[in-house]
Symmetry: C2
Subunit: 395 residues, 2 copies
């Protein structure tokens, strides 16, 4: 059994850094002074407990236990950076759960076939280089461009710095990440824990409704070419088609941009920003095919793609081990997909990967209100521990 | 008969100033160098023709003919400033039509009972002090506040400067403004000219749809409190109720503001900016009463007033004279209201006032594409001339 009090104390200690900087929450932004203060604090803690540590040039920290292994490793971890005015749990829970696993293994003096590497990633939440920069860099998954180099320079980094962080992952047999759910499904459906089988794909299209801007006072209603008149139909169609798909399919209208956007001008254009996420890429395509047909039928409408990040399915073998372990220990668990991206998504391109979700109260995240119950964390981290042990034994 | 070629030459000469500054159009913004260049050019022209002129401290120019009258005046005029990248006609057509009236009266050596003052107003289009600042100031209609004084300071003006511009208008028997329609009604319904009987009131309400912002990836569709779902009903209701009123009633949704307005966040709120204009204030109230009932029936909706500028009815007696004059000269005219505010709206609070509208091609204004046909202008200004003569004779 892991020690939940020790875990929560470590988590809360680190949460003091950057607290109250931008509101009630924690600001431990990637590459910030607060980030590096937290990183050094954790590094000192790990070394004081006798673990090997290494900090790379982009601010990732690796803490290793059982260095005298047969040259094979299991990697666990998450990210240490937060959003601005964020919560205690997003990212950091994965790191301190991982640290608790190391401490428990060490306390028990348990025999391990593999070395256990706890990876603490920088810049998952976002930097000039986009999200999951730390995990992307150890995988060598960055897309190198002049723009990318310019963005690195913003943090006094060179391409060589980033390349020096690439790791030989061929001797890592598995990556496991524990993370808060950031949604309300587990709490709502009364599950103890989630076993994540995939990370949804994200596709974004913008729909443009064209009209003619004109004077709102002098243009009679019957002489208007007002794009807002068509907006209700567009919105209703977007929701209606979304209803045809089941969870984890989600469709969000995140913004509607109206130009010129003044009281006294009939708008010239309305742009509807849409996003769809699902684990099945074919569902996303089917949805937007239907929307494209709808758009094509009206010459005033246009649609164009903004982003397409394909979904990722996590490793079947590891998920099987996790499900077996959860069943043996009578867990009330849900196999589910993640609606948000995670370091695990990048790592899964190189190493067999899976994730565990801890229930998020009211599904809140990226907020000082973020909360997960100690009893849920304890259950989840104990499962995590058992899974690490089982993977170590069986792979 | 007025001289249309002379009128258009003067109009186009002034239009060279500030041309191409911000695009293809004319930028002669209130208080700008271009504005004062134009003002001095017109002042020089007027003095070269033997008219009396006076420029006040806020940049209004007054050109007077027949100073040897019996102490009674007729005022004509419009504004000399333009919007950014505006057209040739908005405001300036009223000034050069007025100037053409003065020149024609002088050429004809016509006996007049009244002095004719051509007022060229500054800052109708807007400045820190809001629209119609020039005409508002001669009427003493400014609302004096600390904020107002601060805004004046932005133009190196003091309250004393503004007060020095107030005119004794008790000896002015009428104000007449000729202006482009800025709408498509006259062209569309094939009228030569419009006789304006009132200026619509403008009322603006914002409708707020409240929801709960949340993660667009991790919040299942059935657990969302998404305010955009209600937006189609709100928009449809706004248009449906607007249908119950006839011209000149117009309702415009000028903007929809969604917060936080990101692809990956379910919005927390949607704000719909609405504006209604009509000549009958009671129609505006009836419309919004219905909308308020609709809002009240849904606890997620709120409504609040932003602006209420009441409508103004122009002077019946002067309108009668204008209609009589138009009929006698076989004009194909429409008695109509103005959907836009004008200097005439401010002046009408102090002096019997009316307006003449010249057709705007395609209703375009505040744009380099603004255009009125020479033949329409000639017809309109000839009616304007006849009306001035008739008012001089009969009032």
């Amino acid at each position: 059994m892991i020690n939940i009090d020790r875990l929560l104390k470590n988590l809360k200690d680190i949460g003091e850094i950057g607290k109250g900087l931008d509101g009630k929450g924690i600001s431990r932004l990637a590459f910030s002074k607060e980030y590096y203060d937290a990183l050094r604090k954790l590094d000192n803690l790990a070394r004081s407990k006798g673990f090997d540590t290494k900090i790379d040039k982009i601010g990732n920290l690796f803490i290793t236990y059982n260095p005298n292994n047969k040259g094979k490793f299991i990697m666990i971890g998450s990210h240490l950076d937060t959003v601005k005015n964020g919560g205690l749990y997003d990212g950091a829970l994965g790191i301190f759960s991982g640290f608790e696993i190391l401490e428990t293994l060490k306390d028990k003096k348990r025999h391990l076939n593999h070395g256990i590497i706890l990876a603490c990633f920088n810049a998952e939440e976002g930097s000039e280089m986009g999200g999951t920069f730390g995990s992307r860099s150890i995988c060598g998954n960055n897309i190198i461009s002049d723009e990318f180099k310019e963005k690195l320079a913003f943090y006094n980094l060179t391409l060589d710095d980033v390349k020096s962080c690439e790791m030989n992952l061929s001797n890592v047999v598995a990556f496991l990440e524990i993370h808060i759910e950031q949604g309300g499904t587990l709490e709502n459906e009364k599950y103890d824990v989630g076993i994540v089988d995939g990370i949804v794909g994200i596709t974004r299209y913008n729909i443009m409704i064209n009209g003619t801007a004109n004077h709102a006072g002098t243009t009679p209603m019957n002489l208007r070419d007002d794009p807002i008149r068509k907006l209700p139909n567009v919105i209703n169609k977007l929701y209606k088609e979304a209803k045809k798909f089941d969870q984890p399919f989600v469709m969000t209208i995140g913004n509607i941009i109206i130009k010129p956007g003044m009281y006294n001008v009939i708008p010239g254009s309305v742009e509807v920003l849409t996003e769809v996420r699902d684990l099945e890429q074919s569902n996303i395509e089917e949805y937007y095919d239907e929307i494209k047909k709808f758009v094509k039928a009206d010459e005033k409408l246009e649609i164009y793609k903004n982003i397409e990040k394909p979904s990722v399915k996590l490793d079947e073998n590891i998920i099987k081990i996790m499900i077996k372990t959860a069943k043996e220990n009578d867990y009330n668990f849900k196999v589910m997909s993640s609606g948000a991206g995670h370091d695990a998504k990048e790592i899964s391109k190189k190493i067999p990967t899976a994730m565990i979700f801890i229930p998020s109260i009211r599904g809140v995240s990226h907020s000082p209100e973020e909360y997960s119950k100690p009893e849920d964390i304890e259950l989840g981290v104990n499962l995590f521990y058992d899974c690490v042990v089982e993977i170590d034994r069986s792979i």
